[in-house]
Symmetry: C2
Subunit: 308 residues, 2 copies
């Protein structure tokens, strides 16, 4: 029975590419391991997998009795629902430390860098395992995605150096150009149901006992939302009610202007206003410089809720 | 204001030596960091510090408003009481993943090896920083202590190789001989109050809402306890009542015979009997092969309590 590697619910490119990259590394080290996913792939991730010739990882929601590695999260609400009945062998992540616990020692590689794949590159280097060309390409794209082509405040020198090294292995001359191509795919929102857009990159957080769902759409021009922003906001409201959430927030991030508009639905808007020191206007506010959910949106909100 | 490195309450040699070793590494990397401790040093740790010429780290119980690295634990009950008011920069540990969480990304090096200092050696290698002779000696002794001179089931190839490398740096020809000298110091129990012995290497665990305290004394011959085992057991009973614990357990480990006698005081002995598949006789039982609290005692008990 192989081990699994799985990223978070509503998988993004980092969750999928790091599952593929870590599976190959572990298998090469003599531990048969396969990548899996907890949900449907985004257009961006499909673009990456097609570009480098990968199949979609297996859709697998239940892990009872199995052994697995967790990538790109350490919060229980973001992982498999039956994680308590599985054995967690390790966690590779670049977020705040969440509430997953284990009953036995494990392997954790957690670093304050821009992308899980940057850490997985360190693991390849540590074990002195050569990264195949196609895997290097997928890892590189995941880092370009997570760091918004190095523009995100989460981006570190380690991420930039890692992209350079992976581009060389993958034989890609201009990583930034490929990154822009990828973000144009990501920006395509025509003919997509509102709910699919809201959930495209959506994560739930337990903030001092309050369930808060935060989605993000990163595009090259915010104007594409103009004609249906009200519909997005209405769906965000429905999503809050269906999930008994305290708040739902959607970040509309303009990667060229380097800021985000927040759409907010909350049972107490003052918590959100306090967190970011802003006034909401009809549940909306533009904040200059906000590009990272992990680094700029979650920590102040968590503090506003009084959780650590 | 410097950052701190602190190990668990009732510090053992690994908690103290890893705080010293990590502080030096971080300071060398340009981040002024000082080692601290949450309690009194054991005779074994004093022996190590004297042998390699170190002062005792600062006794510091409060970290509100400070930034710190946590070593050798990730359970809240084992760390500083006001950890919620501090910023956790990183965790270096070799135990199960505990319930410490953070509100911002951090650095975690957690590996299923025998000693935190084995992981800190990896960090020195990663950053290509030379380990000073005296720090190498202290790190080596901590690994010999945690792995019971390689006899513990927690000991891995990485720990053995690490001791060899550190011994060479420290200029020590026979690490095992120094290890036995250290364990003879550790075995000295004359003229020590019962409470001091019970608490010498004692850790509390939150097991599915139940507080369980587990101490361990590792000696070269269990016969030294014969004349006062009843007194130890009586003190264990008092300690359970004072702390409102579900159970208190003391492991008397014979490092030559490679097994442990368990002294148990519990509001429900059947949980302990179920965990280890044994029958307690007057609250006591000898179990062959049990040497590691972390690997052999905590996980089955945690499972018996139904926590994961």
């Amino acid at each position: 029975m192989p081990n699994y590697v799985v990223g978070h619910k509503v998988p993004d490119s980092d969750s999928i590419c790091s599952a593929i990259a870590l599976s190959y590394l572990k298998t090469t080290l003599g531990e048969p391991t396969v990548p899996a996913r907890l949900g449907e792939l985004s257009p961006e991730t499909k673009f990456i997998l097609e570009r480098f010739g990968f199949e979609e990882p297996e859709l697998k929601l239940s892990y009872a009795g199995e052994s697995l590695y967790i990538v790109d999260h350490s919060d229980r609400v973001q992982g498999p629902d039956d994680i308590d009945d599985a054995t967690i062998l390790g966690i590779i992540d670049h977020h705040k430390l969440g509430d997953i616990t284990t009953s036995a020692p494990l392997e954790c590689w957690i670093r304050p860098v821009g992308c899980t794949n940057t850490i997985i590159k360190m693991m390849y280097d540590f074990h002195d395992v050569e990264i195949p060309k196609d895997i290097a390409g997928a890892m590189m794209c995941a880092i370009l995605s997570d760091t918004v082509i190095f523009k995100s405040p989460t981006c570190t020198t380690a991420d930039i150096k890692c992209v350079e090294a992976l581009a060389e292995i993958a034989g890609i001359d201009d990583p930034k150009e490929l990154g822009m191509e990828m973000f144009k795919v990501k920006s395509a929102v025509e003919d997509t149901p509102m709910r699919d857009l809201v959930l495209r990159d959506f994560k739930d957080f337990n903030m001092n006992g309050n369930l808060v769902g935060i989605g993000q759409l990163e595009v090259v021009d915010l104007a594409i939302f103009d004609s249906f922003k009200d519909d997005l906001h209405a769906d965000l409201k429905a999503l809050r009610e269906e999930g008994n959430r305290h708040s739902t927030i959607l970040l509309l991030t303009d990667i060229m202007k380097e800021g985000s508009e927040l759409l907010v639905v909350s049972e107490d808007e003052s918590v959100i206003e306090k967190a970011y020191d802003v006034k909401l206007d009809n549940g909306r506010v533009w904040i200059d410089g906000i590009m990272s959910r992990k680094k700029q949106v979650v920590p102040p909100l968590q503090d506003a809720f009084g959780a650590k």
